[in-house]
Symmetry: C4
Subunit: 246 residues, 4 copies
């Protein structure tokens, strides 16, 4: 084209949302590829921070029927902005996390079996080795149970609130996942792809942790120096794992 393209804000937002739809759809499909979901028991969302709009999986749709086109777009108050289908029934949980933690760019919820077992047991997953320490700077917390009132009214919103309450003064990005008691894990990251990555990590370390306790029920948590070493060689200013710092 010889004419100069003038990009308006509206155009730019539309472009970003189009890309995000594709990322969120891809991340949902990746849940299945990583064997984290049975049937439709999982959902991924991503946020466009500039517009404050969230792209999320529609509720109860089979993975084979998902496409970038049928992802639902909602605003941070949960109003549907684009899409013909209901958004995930867990949308209110996702939105609470996006509202509270500006660094979160993507969120995943699954019922992956080994992490779900820890959530059902109401136990945090202790940091027992470097696999865990490479991603989580300490244990993977488990929330308290919701009260009857919290369940009866705005259940999904309250699920988000109890996650926020559990994180408390902690750094949400340094422990990018949590177990909701009697329920299942939620994970997050800077984008939907990283949130899925962390969902895999939670499932793997959940399984390893149970086996570790079965081998040695008296095992103690990882040496804090080793936790520091592994977390910080992958994260933060002096990270040296991978190719980015070369």
């Amino acid at each position: 084209m010889s004419e100069q393209t003038v990009w308006t804000d509206v155009d730019l937002t539309a472009e970003r949302l189009k890309a995000l739809r594709h990322q969120v759809w891809q991340a949902n499909m990746d849940l299945q590829r990583h064997n984290l979901v049975t049937f439709t028991w999982g959902n991924v969302s991503g946020i466009d921070r500039k517009s404050g709009l969230v792209v999320i999986k529609p509720s109860g749709v089979e993975y084979s029927d998902l496409s970038a086109a049928n992802m639902v777009i909602v605003d941070l108050q949960g109003r549907i902005v684009e899409g013909d289908m209901n958004p995930s029934s867990d949308t209110a949980t996702h939105l609470e996390l996006y509202r509270q933690y500006p660094d979160i760019g993507g969120i995943v919820h699954t019922h992956s079996p080994q992490a779900t077992a820890w959530a059902q047991a109401g136990r945090a997953i202790p940091a027992l080795g470097t696999t865990h320490a490479d991603y989580f700077y300490g244990q993977i917390d488990c929330t308290r149970a919701l009260s009857d009132k919290e369940i009866a009214e705005d259940y999904e919103l309250n699920t988000g609130k109890v996650i926020v309450e559990t994180i408390g003064d902690g750094d949400a990005m340094a422990a990018p996942g949590i177990l909701v008691k009697e329920h299942a894990p939620f994970t997050w990251g800077k984008d939907p792809h990283q949130a899925v990555h962390n969902a895999v990590v939670v499932e793997v370390v959940a399984g390893m942790a149970l086996q570790t306790l079965q081998i040695n029920s008296g095992v103690s948590s990882i040496n804090p120096s080793l936790l520091d070493k592994h977390y910080l060689r992958k994260h933060g200013a002096n990270a040296y794992y991978g190719q980015t710092k070369k």
Copy 2:
């Protein structure tokens, strides 16, 4: 065709049975796709309530040899109406459930390993989290053992009867599956597809429940309010999960 097609009752029944043959064959193949069966250790049936005829897998035939055409059709008294092969050896169990519960449209029996372990242990699978509560409105019961007499005479019919006895005044559709002690699970649903779906659920929650108890042997069942919330957001008049209620 320019001529008007006149559908007789006989034609309509034949059409429905043709469709049901295909559904039951597909559901049997789905057992394999979901890794619920070893060899031929599973069977699915479906009923056409208008004619009272049941389509069921033939006995001991390998999955690779199954087709819609070789499904067997029996009436509710177990008489073969169509088919050259023996129906599943568990046919009498299926028929007893169809006779007792008019809402059941499909039945599945498998020896899926984790659910079978609970059946062998003679223990109900407790409702420990929302994965369970999304499908079963309470624990997944385990029957009593059959008596020597019940085993010796009409074993398969008595297997159906002990399932009915265990359900008692319960709502068969609100807990669409059961463990037969020293044997394995049976599940059901409004159609064969849903019965298979519930067979997957039983296998998954069986595995999660054992792991949960291994992490925390003192865990208690899910908060009844949370059980209500999850079961009722997917089932009943006010369900809001998925796309149907929009």
Copy 3:
């Protein structure tokens, strides 16, 4: 061909051995398909009872390099009759079983993990449910440990002998498999295909049995009436499972 073919005994034996080579090769490949082997840790053999010749997998050859042509043929004394490679290092164990039990037509040895765990634990797998009872008429025995002398001299032959000793007066075909202590399972059947089938059964019931004990450590063995019922509905004069009796 217009001329009449005259089959000599030699021709007939060659034809039968050719077919058996193919069966034994196929059965070896099936071990891999059923996820029973890591690397080359498994072997299948079959016997031609008329000639007394045994076809067996060569030792330590990768599954991708196996073919019907490179199966080794040995006589019941272990002398190589055909083949350029060493037969399985466990050949002497197979031969002892063929010599002692004329009904055995095929033998399988694997290190399938769940059955091997029971063998390493030195425990028989108890009959805890109908999955087990459909194939094994009682527990799956575990041999005693071999003595130092038995290990030092003719180890593989003595492995066969301790299996025979453990079976004692029992019916080898009614419990078509055994665990060799500190080692792994051997199974057998009327032909190589059935021996592989039984190897799968042993692996599956081994896993189920451990899980059953983890759920209920005080569980007792299956009611003998139910064991009878399930074993006999698949085996013996009055069997009614499958299509053969119709």
Copy 4:
């Protein structure tokens, strides 16, 4: 070519390194094929003893992006000789083992889940059966924990040193793998392919050993005579397993 090719030492080294690049790349891909790695949590290296150069996987690169061409070549002091990417963050551990044990030709590090559980538990994997004895002449040791100082300074080098300390006067090739406490397994072999093979063995026997203890918590280690028999029928002067000795 009609002219005589004159191979200089430089040419020969280049040829060997080219072949080694391919072997190391292939061995890295095999980790994935054997289900030993999640994401990029594993690495393989190989050494060319004549030149003292080591080929190793680049750090944090996805398996789908690996190629023989992007393997990194370092010398035994860790200086990059060829390659545009950072070598594995665990390179210093590999190099320490190559410096100490001249028979080692390939090294593997993974976080395979069952072996990692034993490492996290800080327990050696006992030799409980012949599967283990076929490859490891005794238990698979677990190192002591590193001190805070060892973690803070030259962590990866000290990981190598604590492995060497644990092996002590032992024969590194007779127990070709070890667990690093709170971390994960390292294995080795005469070449990268064999190191991967041993990584699979460690994962399989780790899983079997836990199950064995769950079945019989009082089990004792394998009879030393049987350990000898199985190890020595595959290794050493009188080995008779496989085809090489015929």
